[in-house]
């Protein structure tokens, strides 16, 4: 098991943003973290990425209590744009390469080319679809063991979504675990191994997708609609 979240809780201004999150994440699997906006998905990811401290509870990374060194093995993609506007596509690759030891510049360049991004183009001139692709390419070019992708499919056209989905599937391996937060169930239904349903800061249910379809003849979307 790569990550275990035990009773993880975050209280913001007296209100719980995340309440008693118990989750186990294993390598070789893709997880859907599913819930509406404001249900605690981002806050939980930020705690796992070490960007905000839990109020209560514990995180185990590879069986040991989480410590800052684990950051080197965790790739978190936030919903906000995260490179400077003056940077070109090429600069983003170099910046990441300097910043992360596990960055694979060859993979970055290959994906940039395959996805028709212009190396010399400035980040601020990219369309929202291109920007989303650049973000995911930069994140997936790390050889991280745990990928946390916060809303990678939001606000972009159907073609860019498909390309992003393909990159996520291609990057999945026995060496990593991928967690995708989204409320766009249709986009990830066919390729998530497990679905974690989150509502109002709490985990309502966690299921294995194929087993559940087999046993209950329901889709992950059916469960989502039922819960939310």
């Amino acid at each position: 098991m790569i990550l275990e979240s035990i009773g993880l809780t975050k209280i913001f201004r007296m209100k719980p943003a995340v309440l008693d999150f118990n989750v186990k994440i294993e390598k070789g699997r893709i997880y859907g973290l599913l819930g509406p906006n404001g249900s605690g998905k981002t806050t939980w990811m930020k705690m796992v990425a070490g960007l905000t401290k839990p109020t209560k509870g514990m995180l185990l990374f590879e069986g040991e209590p989480w410590n800052y060194k684990n950051k080197a093995k965790i790739a978190y993609m936030s919903t906000e744009p995260f490179f400077y506007e003056f940077m070109t596509v090429k600069d983003v690759g170099e910046y990441y390469n300097d910043f992360f030891e596990d960055f694979d510049l060859v993979k970055f360049k290959k994906l940039i080319k395959e996805n028709h991004l212009d190396e010399e183009e400035k980040a601020k001139h990219l369309s929202s679809g291109m920007n989303a692709k650049l973000k995911i390419i930069a994140t997936l070019s790390r050889k991280a063991e745990l990928f946390l992708l916060d809303e990678p499919l939001n606000g972009i056209d159907i073609k860019a979504r498909e390309e992003i989905v393909n990159m996520i599937i291609e990057s999945s391996s026995d060496e990593n675990a991928i967690v995708i937060s989204t409320h766009l169930l249709d986009e990830i239904e066919s390729f998530m191994d497990e679905a974690i349903f989150v509502k109002e800061g709490k985990i309502i249910r966690q299921v294995k997708a194929e087993e559940t379809r087999m046993e209950e003849q329901v889709s992950m979307k059916d469960i989502y609609m039922q819960i939310m």
Binding site: G28, R29, E170, S172
Partner: protein, 120 residues
């Protein structure tokens, strides 16, 4: 591929691959896509892709050459059998449903002929 998300995805992919074998889109002895390629084409995760190949191997429709990948069986009889099985399965379903709503063999045959001639 469009899925029925209330059914296991891997079974739907297997069915699609079987149809491709029957129609020759995946000819005898042809090299199948790698796990990862299959995963991307069908929008499934690589675990599911591996499981799909395992199932097809168990049914004798595929085999793996170490280091070279997965291939469609070279034996025509396997694919012929598959074709017969699938046809039979579809027929059983169709006949059961038709009988359930009160059709007899003769009427069913007429229905089929009319349908094929575009009368219905």
């Amino acid at each position: 591929m469009k899925y029925n998300n209330e059914m296991p995805i891997y079974l739907q992919v297997i069915r699609d691959l079987k149809k491709k074998m029957i129609t020759g889109q995946l000819p005898l002895g042809a090299k199948m896509p790698s796990n990862r390629e299959l995963a991307v084409v069908y929008k499934v995760n690589p675990n599911t892709a591996a499981r799909i190949y395992k199932e097809l191997e168990l049914e004798g429709l595929c085999y793996t050459k170490r280091g070279l990948g997965t291939f469609v069986t070279g034996e025509e009889v396997q694919v012929e059998t598959l074709k017969e099985e699938m046809a039979r399965e579809l027929l059983i379903h169709f006949m059961n449903e038709m009988r359930d709503i009160g059709f007899q063999k003769k009427e069913i045959l007429t229905k089929i002929e009319d349908y094929e001639e575009g009368l219905e």
